[in-house]
Amino acid sequence: MTLPNLPFWKEYPTRDSEWVRQYPTRHHSIKEEEVFGKQQMGIYVHIPFCNRLCFSCPYIKHQTDKTITRRYLDALKTEISNYAARPYVQDHEITLGYIGGGTPTALSSAELEELLGHLHSELNMSDDVELSIETTPIDITKKKAETLYNNGVKRISLGVQTFVQEELESIGRPSDPKMLENAIKICQEAGFTNINIDLMHGLNGQTMESWEYSLDKAIELGVTCVSFYTYMEFAQVSTKRRKLPPVPTTDVVDEMFMFAAKKLTENGFDGYFGDCFAKPGYQPRYGERSWSENIPIIPLGPTATGHLKDHWYFNEPSINKYIEVVNSGQLPISMGQYISKEEAIRRGMILGVKASKVDRKMFKHLYGVDFVEKFQSEIQDLESKGLVELTQNELKVTDPKGWYYLDNISKTFYSESFKRYPQHLGSDITEFQSSVAEWQPIEITTRP
């Protein structure tokens, strides 16, 4: 084939006389906002306190205690200010956030107002920032719900677990289903239009009928999101609890998942994250967008996980050490991992599929590769198992089979270096490791 003879392009041995000084060469109309516009950023705030410690919860939390909550809140505000002072953070706009725990509403209304006020005053919060918060039917009050709503929290998530009295008793929760309904009403009356409830399947004595009852109740109460979790039965040390009816078999628990997925989709909910369902337009941005669009997340509070500047990391888990480090002017970063370009691409797939679909164009824009070409064999394998569907524009997790196996799908894209390692649970295990250096991929990066 003969190449056209372009006036500015000469093939060796003819000397090219165009003096190269820019790249890339194709260009188009570009505006100031594109060059100097603020990129999106998210926040995760961890409140590690609970007014009541549930024996079925594996997460790190502390009994609410006024002497420590005050010290903690001051440290948390210091950490927020420390991040806010960094130019990198100032170049971004906070568009999404999640306040989890623990139980964030273990804090008083005044403390919640103080925290939210500090977030808004210190960080570049966008006008339409979507802040979500976790609470429980026991901890939420009219005053707290109004405080949250009036301070920019637009989505609230209640750990209901079940509407069945005997099942509430079996997990050591106050067993008045009416109180649960009342808690949802409190949130609705405070102004919340986006309300999530968590439900558990696999509880002691739970049947398909009682599971259906809880799902029906959730639908009837008009919540916009339902997330369900499999109950993990830890070894029971209480002799009373050891006498509880058995948990359903794995087969029944699986069936409960499929049943819930079908029932909720029939009632106008769309699936996301595998076991979360939302009415159209109510799917939370946190997670979905931060994963699909690779939005950096600032982690705030002990054990909080974040993703900034080519690293994912989590904060010091010990609350006292966290306070000490923050008060010394440092960020309380404990453990994490540098994300090389190759791993960033994989991470885009690993977390992207968790949001149920990966957009081909967006992925190419973010990572510069076509995932269909790069992960051809993985995608073919997943397709053959009926777990994903590939179209011209996107890779979509199948409904409901793919939702059920969502984490298996996600782990398909792990690299060999990180295969068969667990998700972090918030413990600092640095002292037991021989060397962090061996974990650093050898890659020359230029620093501006």
């Binding site: 390692y421 667990p422 413990s427 021989s434």
Partner: protein
């Protein structure tokens, strides 16, 4: 990744009774689930009219107490070299009596390489999380064989130093405060290849070595439920 490439024998793991009590308390709080599999493996070997079950290295007595409670008609005899651990085990046995444990359980101090039991007197000889502390493992393995009945079984379980790093990470994150204790025990434990070598040196070539999760299981007879986990010379030690 972890500082356990080379085996480091433990030096007197419990310097005083308070440390041992704290360790025991941690185990009582968190180990009920991880004890289920080893306990069930022992219980699966139970037969009618057994004369004795022996635990070599009772630690703080938890597993013997559990087995004894499940098999109230069979005497369970536990032996421990470490005086501090033995004292905590006795405290736990005392509490078991208070809570009406129906077992027939006794703990005593003694040397593992010269146990105070007759030849062929035990139907089941078991050990859990103790092998890594044996000063003369070859002699103790031979001793386990001596006291076990011909139709009995020896089951020795301990940590596996060659366990997957991911699994070690997972456990370290869960046990939180017991990290130092766990990693020290793991660092002084044997790999399957090292265990095989110990058995061969003890003249116990016919005994089996299995790997399961974080654990290493040595048995004098095949254990069907572990057949797919059998370690052979061709297996990888990671």
């Amino acid at each position: 990744m972890f500082k356990i490439q080379d085996r480091k024998p433990r030096k007197a793991p419990f310097k005083d009774i308070d440390v041992a009590r704290a360790y025991d308390l941690g185990m009582r709080k968190s180990a009920l689930m991880s004890y289920q599999k080893p306990a069930n493996r022992i219980l699966e070997q139970a037969k009618d009219e057994m004369s004795d079950i022996v635990e070599v290295g009772v630690n703080t007595g938890l597993l013997s107490l559990y087995i004894g409670g499940k098999l109230p008609d069979t005497p369970v005899s536990g032996i421990e070299e470490n005086k501090i651990l033995l004292e905590v085990a006795e405290e736990n046995l005392n509490l078991a009596v208070w809570s009406s444990n129906k077992g027939d359980i006794e703990f005593e101090g003694g040397k593992f390489h010269a146990m105070p039991f007759e030849d062929g007197s035990a139907d089941i000889v078991f050990s859990f999380s103790s092998l890594h502390m044996w000063r003369n493992p070859i002699a103790v393995l031979k001793e386990c064989k001596r006291i076990c009945k011909h139709d009995g079984i020896v089951i020795i379980e301990d940590l596996n130093r060659a366990a997957e790093e991911g699994h070690i990470t997972f456990v370290l994150q869960f046990i939180k405060d017991g990290g130092n204790e766990f990693i020290e025990a793991l660092g002084s434990s044997y790999t399957p290849a090292e265990s095989r070598k110990l058995l061969n040196e003890a003249g116990l070539e016919e005994w089996n070595v299995y790997q399961e999760d974080l654990g290493l299981i040595i048995s004098s007879k095949p254990i069907d439920s572990l057949s797919s986990n059998l370690y052979t010379e061709d297996s990888n030690d990671n």
